[in-house]
């Protein structure tokens, strides 16, 4: 199953595996990513790990500190605000496109994804639920057909997962199931206005449920230790 030790990984694969780990909250914000460790884990040289780091840092998923290494990013409240604002701007356009051009096959893919989400939810696999929730939005972006917008979403979704890891309580699972399925319903009914309204509301729900001073509390806690 896990061929990371025997087969050499490409840069894209390394980026994907690290992205998945961040999306599933296996790598929490602030985690140090040591080049040597990853190099042996993926059975490649540090050169490739560094190349992967450059891409991950460009996406904002990790932050590079000069001479100190790579750390999983801890998005600020400002970044959070900007990300959700951008998603509320872009995703309605995705919905518009998908509603206009979705084939029966596309809808089947969406339905299949909803089922997987539901299964993970009932199995109480929180990590999988968070990742699949993000991937629902990515699937919509893919079906939308605009490659530029798709690429933007491929960056914003993992960042959103990171934010949920930071600011969400351990109990709340992001993206309530019915909201996703309602959006698909509206798309199937060729009702873009409703679908867009639901999507905007959905994104606002996620943002509103974030505990945006959780991180600052931690920061204060840090300083309190040294005082």
């Amino acid at each position: 199953m896990d061929n990371s030790l025997t087969v050499k990984a490409s840069i894209e694969q390394i980026v994907e595996r690290i992205t998945d780990a961040v999306m599933e909250h296996r790598l929490p914000p602030g985690s140090k990513l040591a080049e040597d460790k990853l190099a042996s884990a993926f059975n490649v040289s540090r050169t490739k790990i560094r190349q992967a780091f450059i891409l991950l840092a460009n996406e904002g998923l990790i932050t590079l500190h000069a001479n100190r290494g790579a750390f999983v990013t801890s998005p600020t409240t400002e970044q959070t605000r900007d990300i959700f604002k951008t998603r509320r701007l872009i995703e309605p356009e995705i919905i518009r496109e998908v509603t206009a051009k979705a084939t029966a096959q596309d809808l089947a893919r969406l339905r299949k994804h909803l089922k997987e989400e539901s299964k993970a939810r009932h199995a109480d696999d929180r990590r999988k639920v968070i990742r699949l929730s993000g991937e629902f939005h990515l699937l919509l972006a893919e079906l939308g057909g605009n490659q530029v917008i798709n690429k933007i979403m491929m960056e914003l979704c993992p960042l959103t997962c990171l934010i949920i890891a930071l600011y969400d309580g351990p109990k709340i699972t992001a993206c309530p199931e019915d909201e996703h399925s309602q959006i698909v319903d509206a798309i199937e009914n060729k009702d873009p206005a409703t679908a867009i309204k639901l999507m905007k509301r959905h994104l606002s729900h996620i943002e509103d449920e974030l505990n945006l001073d959780a991180y600052q509390k931690r920061e204060i806690h840090w300083e309190a230790i040294y005082s």
Copy 2:
């Protein structure tokens, strides 16, 4: 002035210099970027050049062919359509933000930029005109204050310059001067509706003036030579 041979360049500097060269059409689409040549030009090892390539490829400005190297991208008509669609989606939001929050200092920066554009135009410095035209939109994005949107624009503007290099005739200079200044006027008048309308029209003007089958013609020309 040119310290590329004496001082070692950072990855960001290398990326910026290559981006500028592409934006000013000094590196036309299809150009081969040899690692060795650039390494000695920037007085660094190939390692750094490759790292810069990874970023440039991620932005879509260059395309990496396995074992064959890096080439300045030749955007397809589909990519062109997607890029302009995305810009028409994002830039109105930028205008909204800028109109709402622009300070006197911000407006002064915009006016100063318009002057520079005008100067380059009257000096018939076509390369500078194209680069400054793109940078006008980047300045707006910066003033908008949304870092995520700003980063998106930092990728879309150089790509747009590339497209103009490919599909624009040699005579037409992109972004007529008055369109930019009219947008700034509307911003100054706190009239977002007009500013957005002008921006959308402006983007459509640029797209409409592109000769979107120019590239295909070239391809046919190539084959014609060998027949």
